[in-house]
């Protein structure tokens, strides 16, 4: 099995340990991968702010960087959504690029999708510990439609107990540019999320999007909470 890894800009800049966790999982399951040189950002910040020319530029760069026919795996629900759903929309009126966008869209997997549906990682021996709760991030859940895969991975961690949080599907308040445009509201929504996490009784919260997890980690810290925040890749890699 050969894949291309799209690290995402947030992982690249702030959370290289998440990328390294993905690499450890790939190594363990014998997945050959390339990390296409020159990858940058999927263009989501521009897209969500309404700057479509800039978003298209980022998309074109992505399409030329991720050529070939291997599956593209990325540890982010919202970046996978961007490539899978919004690239084809961006190039709706450009038949040639639309074809390229659709070809790439058809190859994209969000990490938990790939781990569960392709590698069947959840059927292997994984270990974990403590009480784990899960934040179901918005684009992953609502646009990409990934709901079961992350839970299957958590359930597979022997020794860990899954505890649901109230309103797991409610937005954490990150919203990309939203957190910069309306920071006070973003923080208030994140604080509600932190309260839900604390109420779950978990000692670890996990999810599939570094943006949301970053926002959640900040909100938990402000509450003085000791709940640990881990990307699903880190949880799985630790349990190998």
């Amino acid at each position: 099995m050969h894949v291309q890894l799209f690290g995402t800009c947030l992982v690249d800049t702030f959370f290289p340990e998440v990328g390294e966790a993905v690499v450890r999982i790939f190594d363990k399951f014998g997945v050959q991968f390339t990390f296409p040189k020159g990858q940058t950002c999927c263009g989501q910040p521009a897209y969500n702010a309404g700057y479509m020319a800039e978003a298209k530029g980022a998309a074109e760069h992505f399409l030329s960087t991720f050529g070939g026919s291997d599956p593209i795996v990325t540890p982010s629900g919202s970046c996978a959504t961007m490539v899978k759903h919004h690239y084809p929309e961006l190039f709706r009126d450009d038949p040639e690029k639309l074809r390229a966008a659709e070809q790439v869209a058809g190859r994209v997997y969000e990490l938990s999708q790939f781990l569960v549906n392709v590698l069947r990682v959840h059927e292997t021996n994984l270990t974990g510990s403590g009480r784990v709760t899960y934040h179901s991030s918005c684009h992953l859940t609502r646009t990409l439609g990934v709901t079961e895969e992350p839970l299957a991975l958590i359930e597979a961690l022997k020794g860990a107990e899954f505890v649901p949080m109230p309103d797991a599907t409610r937005c954490c308040g990150f919203g990309g540019v939203f957190m910069a445009k309306l920071p006070e509201i973003s923080m208030a929504i994140a604080d509600d999320k932190a309260q839900s996490i604390i109420a779950s009784g978990a000692d670890t919260v996990t999810g599939c999007d570094s943006g949301c997890l970053m926002n959640i980690a900040d909100a938990l810290k402000r509450r003085g909470s000791s709940v640990k925040v881990k990307h699903i890749a880190e949880l799985v890699a630790e349990g190998l």
Binding site: T40, Y51, A58, P183
Partner: protein
């Protein structure tokens, strides 16, 4: 167009975020409605039902002029006078004119968001009429001198203690915070108004083209009082509220109350066809219907036409994390929440309303909740694109986005940007603010890409 307050969402919301009573009231109310909605949807094929409802609404929008013509003819045949108002000012003038020619002094009003859109009450009061809101929530905010903060639950931002104090202050009654006692106080005060009002003004949830009927979904009974006790009834509604025929109504009877208040059905569903005739037991002797356009004829031709499918259930605001946090007044105009962002920018123009388009995390909860499949998330994004195209995005944001666009296309520039951010992190924190950059972790010493072979 009039604006009640500024549309500077961030400034408007600043007070709300610090208002613990408001935030708790919003949490309680939206959670309660959310639970009731989930329960009411059990055993209902929501996805099939909303597909059907959406198709009916699109059919109307695709043929709006013809349906309006049909409705006007049929309503007139049934004995109503139908008026077309191009904008808010002419709607208000038409209504004031009707009231004057009938020597009206006091008006009992049922709930109507369209009358909020036209600022009808203020206009009528200026013209010397006494206007009394009879929906309990509307009555509360009228006493408080406020505007609705939710399209169905106007006083959603208030708790019962605040209502108790308001009643004591304005009505001179003993303090109580028991909802039943408070409701009885309001009912006593309002009964007298119903019986002495010279005219009733209401909105309408739907207008039926085939029969010329108006349909009202209500819970408190005040809607029936307003439309049938006074000798004169004026209904004000916007042109897109039409349904082709009564046969289409059951779909919306199943969807609207469930989506709105989590009820299987509202306490009352009134179908009013024409004025009261000889031998009729109830009804106003004179019925006027004012159809407000206010820009909708243009919207229906554009790429945001699907917004006009909206049936005003409020489900999108009830599930919206932003609305839940700041309440409706922060949106600054008539309609709050996701539908409010889109409608306000469409109806008032981007120049006045552009800060509103930021008021969404684009989480998509509204899309899932909408009973007529308005793609709200996409429409909010469309307004953001429009803002950029029309030049209302702040210059600093545009510059930042140009830089971002350049870096996203150039790996060299991108990794240079990453390094810069790392080197100047403390400076960035100061410039970018504690609440923005201060919430991000420090960039890693070595980015992931440089750890890759």
């Amino acid at each position: 167009m009039n604006h009640q307050t500024s549309l500077d969402f961030r400034a408007n919301a600043a007070g709300a975020i610090k208002d613990d009573a408001l935030r708790q009231a919003m949490r309680n109310a939206t959670d309660t409605i959310g639970t009731k909605r989930t329960n009411a949807m059990e055993g209902v094929d929501f996805s099939a039902l909303r597909e059907k409802a959406s198709a009916i609404r699109m059919e109307v929008l695709d043929n709006l002029p013809a349906y309006l013509e049909r409705f006007t003819t049929q309503a007139a045949k049934a004995g109503a006078s139908v008026h077309r108002a191009a904008d808010a000012g002419s709607a208000n003038a038409i209504i004031a004119g009707i009231l004057k020619s009938n020597n009206v002094r006091m008006v009992a009003k049922g709930k109507s968001m369209i009358s909020e859109e036209t600022h009808l009450n203020a206009h009528l009061e200026q013209e010397g009429f006494e206007v009394v809101e009879t929906d309990l929530g509307e009555y509360i905010i009228q006493l408080a001198g406020e505007t609705p903060s939710h399209i169905l639950v106007p006083a959603i931002h208030k708790n019962r203690q605040q209502v108790g104090r308001l009643f004591t202050e304005k009505l001179g009654v003993d303090y109580s915070e028991d909802p039943q006692v408070l409701t009885k106080i309001a009912r006593k005060a309002l009964r007298e108004k119903f019986l002495t009002a010279d005219a009733g003004i209401s909105g309408a949830n739907f207008a039926i083209a085939e029969s010329g009927s108006l349909v009202l979904f209500t819970n408190e009974g005040n809607g029936r009082m307003v439309t049938s006790v006074p000798p004169l009834h004026i209904a004000i509604l916007s042109i897109e509220k039409i349904l082709p025929s009564l046969a289409d109504l059951p779909t919306f009877m199943r969807l609207l109350p469930r989506s709105a208040t989590g009820q299987m059905l509202t306490s009352y569903v009134s179908i009013l066809t024409g004025n009261r005739k000889e031998g009729d037991a109830t009804g106003a002797r004179e019925l006027h219907i004012v159809l407000l356009d206010n820009g909708r004829s243009e919207i229906v031709k554009g790429d945001c036409r699907e917004m006009l499918k909206c049936i005003r259930c409020g489900a999108c605001m009830n599930v919206c994390p932003v609305y839940r946090t700041v309440g409706g007044h922060a949106y600054g105009w008539t309609y709050p929440g996701p539908m409010g962002i889109v409608l306000t920018t469409l109806l008032t123009g981007m120049a006045a309303s552009h800060p509103l388009v930021d008021a969404s995390t684009l989480c998509g909860a509204c899309n899932d909740a909408c009973p007529v499949k308005v793609p709200l998330q996409e429409m909010i994004l469309k307004q953001r694109v429009r803002r950029v195209a029309e030049g209302f995005s702040p210059p600093a944001v545009s510059m930042g986005m140009r830089l971002f666009g350049a870096a996203a296309k150039s790996p060299l520039l991108f990794s240079f940007g990453e390094r810069l951010a790392g080197w100047f992190w403390l400076l960035l924190r100061r410039v970018g603010g504690e609440n923005v950059v201060g919430r991000l972790p420090r960039p890693a010493k070595s980015p992931f890409s440089r750890r890759m072979p």
